[in-house]
Symmetry: C2
Subunit: 157 residues, 2 copies
């Protein structure tokens, strides 16, 4: 399913990385192809899940106060998948990944305050069956965050 991207695809991606609402016609003009071609490329990439065009907000400006935390977890291997699913179901959990190293699973939690953080971590996460250990780090400030890939120019905040 990983169709190879040609240079036109990459050019389109880079254009939309800068401005997700840039008109297809304008992109086509800049790249010397028709608008229908741009539209078809974008649709194909979107349908394959490769490309997404969405709005997102800056937590620091939108929600105040707010609290981000990373929960570093050790789990029983046999319960790994079930725990991933349980974590993912929580709306307060904004990120879940499987890792190798000191931990087995990483989970990021986004909540209003430390009281809610405690409730989520202690009453929702640590009680999941198979969770051996869960260590929390408070995220004080996010300095760099890139939403795109090294191949293209990065959109950072």
């Amino acid at each position: 399913m990983t169709d190879a991207l040609d240079s036109l695809d990459w050019s389109v991606i880079r254009a939309l990385e800068e401005d997700g609402r840039r008109p297809f016609r304008e992109i086509g003009r800049a790249l010397g192809v028709s608008e229908a071609t741009i539209r078809a490329r974008v649709r194909r990439m979107q349908e394959s899940g490769l490309l997404r065009i969405v709005a997102f907000t800056d937590p620091a400006r939108v929600q105040s106060p707010y609290q981000l935390a990373l929960v570093v977890m050790r789990v029983e291997p046999s319960r790994h998948e079930a725990i991933v699913e349980a974590l993912s179901r929580h709306p307060e959990v904004s990120y879940v990944s499987t890792v190798m190293g000191r931990a087995d699973i990483l989970a990021e939690v986004l909540v209003r305050d430390q009281k809610q953080l405690w409730e989520i971590v202690s009453r929702k996460i640590r009680v999941i069956e198979g969770v051996v250990d869960a260590e929390t780090m408070l995220i004080v400030e996010v300095h760099k965050l890139r939403y795109v890939l090294p191949n293209g120019e990065a959109a950072e905040s």
Copy 2:
């Protein structure tokens, strides 16, 4: 500069979280206001840096092979800011945050393969002056990733 967002702003954000290219006119119709109002709201939020509408790609589909890793770092307090800056300058470093807990700084690295990962971690990160300890976890799979806030419905992948 953190202008309070009213319910109309939130409705607009939620609409654009689902589809960043949804016509303002359509959003206006759905919310019972004029299209010009929607555009004015979006422009204001974009100019303040609160809202961004961009395309992003799924690393797993776009770059193969690729390797993500989280580097959990202890640093000398007096060198904290300098280290954050040094990390942020590297294009392979996709995320940098200051945390409280077991670690002082978290850094995510996005590279092609494990050889490049080793080069970045050992030759670029661990050698930065003031880095006391750096522990690497290989990110095997990202199960959940939300780019937006708890207030609205989440856009997940």
